[in-house]
């Protein structure tokens, strides 16, 4: 469904992505793991059109989408939940969802938008109770739910998730991963996931990539990555705990 071919990208003079190639099949959950600064976020930003691609191509369903602006890609079914819960804090939860559903409004009108918001409330009950509150007053977990709900409002086929568990309590992390799994199995949503919590992410993934200083160094099934000693040492931190014990 999604294919990156030798994608290169820079921040000014810093060469961040070096010939990154990866693919995500329809209905798959794929995780990219890697250390801080490896280029995980940049990869997602390049896919969603926020970060200019210097070289290489990005294909969505076989169509070249390199260089298409972010606001247009949303209409093509790509939703990106950026790192750090980038919601519109001084606006109400309801307004946030409305903006998330802009695509629905443009295509089907206000009535359908209301229906969609209602169905989001069914999935995320917390948000219904808080719909008139400012989004910035929500707790971290609720904000992440809102960010996820906003992305889902655009009816995506491909969901890009950037560190959905960052800074959240373990219980909420569990809940978020449960929702991602649910979306994938029920709606056949394709998910490309970035996580620091590599362990939890790989458990719900089909495949994974390891990104190191802007290069893909490893690609394997999620289970294989989970048992790979090199990956364990660098990203899962299990061996270290064994040493301690």
């Amino acid at each position: 469904m999604l294919r990156l071919v030798n994608v290169n990208s820079n921040y000014g003079l810093v060469h961040v992505l070096k010939n990154v190639s990866l693919h995500v099949g329809k209905g798959e959950v794929v995780t990219i793991i890697g250390a801080n600064g490896a280029g995980k976020t940049t990869t997602l930003r390049a896919i969603s059109g926020l970060q200019p691609v210097a070289e290489g191509q990005i294909y969505l369903d076989g169509k070249d989408i390199t260089g298409i602006a972010a606001q247009k890609l949303v209409a093509m079914g790509v939703a990106h939940v950026p790192e750090g819960r980038q919601i519109f804090a001084p606006m109400s939860v309801h307004d946030n969802l409305e903006l998330g559903g802009l695509q629905v409004y443009r295509r089907f009108g206000r009535k359908q938008l209301k229906c969609e918001i209602e169905s989001m409330f069914e999935r995320f009950e917390v948000l219904r109770d808080r719909q008139n509150q400012y989004a910035g007053t929500l707790s971290g977990g609720e904000q992440q739910m809102l960010a996820l709900a906003m992305a889902l409002m655009s009816r995506p086929r491909l969901l890009l998730l950037d560190e959905p568990s960052m800074g959240l309590a373990p219980l909420i992390v569990k809940e978020i991963f449960r929702i991602i799994e649910e979306l994938q199995s029920e709606n056949g949503l394709t998910v490309l996931l970035i996580e620091q919590n590599a362990n939890a992410a790989l458990k719900i993934s089909d495949r994974g990539y390891v990104l190191e200083t802007g290069r893909i160094v490893l690609e394997a099934d999620a289970e294989k990555l989970l048992s790979n000693p090199e990956v364990k040492r660098a990203y899962l931190g299990r061996e270290q705990r064994e040493i301690w014990e």
Binding site: V74, H80, F88, L102, Q103
Partner: protein, 285 residues
């Protein structure tokens, strides 16, 4: 007298805020929008003798188009927009517009009759010109329309979303460039309204833009950049302060006193009276 001028500063400040919120820059051509609105209104009513409401709409429309063209021709094509570059462009546009206005309308100040031809009204011992009521009424109407637009329409919410977090807004499918264009057009329209309602009182000429713009900027800063409620209060405050200092101290220092107060506030509270200090640290200047 103070409230009249204050209302104008408030409207100019709202225009500043609108563009500041969508692009992060100060549009120094805002004063020129005010002048163009006023001058156009004079031509339409006094020379072409159109009816007041019709001329009003036409002038606002005209300046809105000027704002739209300004964004399309000078802001949008910039390849790497930085705050400083864009600000310098707005200064250039303001000089250009001032020059054009001088060529078209000449150097003299133009007279325009008041909106309604009734005499002054007595009100608790104060004498009020009917035009003052018009000004206050129109300010109230513009502010309410502004609030309704930004809080209850989807387009308004999109514009706010864009100013809060541009990347997130784009990920929702909002065309940020379109929002910038819209903010220029709208703020030009608001500037025109200000120019039109003040012209019967101060007699418009081509060179007034700079000072009107500066005072409006003062109001915007005083109220906290980007905070439009604050801008209205601060605008009225500056206007009243000016009138008071004109009456009690000397009318020669009228302009200076308002600006001195503004400077003082900036020394003590750089975020403006209503601005939050944490917020100002995050802004670009």
């Amino acid at each position: 007298m103070g409230i009249q001028r204050g209302s104008i500063y408030a409207l100019v400040a709202i225009g500043f805020n609108m563009i500041y919120n969508s692009t992060g820059i100060i549009n120094f051509a805002q004063g020129e929008f005010v002048v163009l609105g006023g001058l156009m209104m004079v031509t339409l009513t006094m020379n072409l003798s159109l009816s007041m409401p019709f001329a009003f709409l036409l002038s606002v429309l005209f300046v809105t188009i000027v704002g739209f063209l300004m964004e399309r021709l000078t802001i949008n094509p910039v390849r790497e927009p930085t705050v400083l570059r864009l600000i310098i462009i707005t200064i250039a546009v303001s000089i250009l517009l001032k020059g054009l206005a001088m060529c078209i309308w000449g150097k003299g100040s133009l007279y325009m009759r008041q909106f309604t031809q009734t005499g002054p009204i007595e009100f608790f011992g104060a004498t009020i010109m009917p035009q003052t009521l018009w000004i206050i009424g129109i300010l109230a109407a513009v502010v309410s329309a502004y609030i309704l637009f930004f809080n209850f329409t989807l387009t308004g919410k999109c514009m706010r979303a864009c100013s809060i977090n541009r990347d997130s807004a784009r990920l929702c499918g909002i065309n940020d460039r379109l929002m910038v264009m819209l903010s220029f057009a709208l703020s030009a329209g608001i500037g025109a309204v200000a120019g039109i309602i003040i012209t019967p009182i101060i007699q418009m000429d081509y060179g007034r833009g700079a000072l009107l713009g500066l005072k409006g900027f003062g109001a915007a800063v005083l109220g906290g950049l980007g905070n439009s409620g604050g801008a209205v209060v601060a605008g009225l405050l500056i206007g009243i302060l000016e009138a008071m200092s004109g009456g009690y101290i000397s009318s020669h220092y009228m302009d200076a006193i308002a600006l001195i107060v503004m400077l003082f506030v900036l020394f003590v509270r750089p975020g403006g009276i209503f601005g939050k200090s944490e917020e100002i640290r995050l802004k670009e200047f």
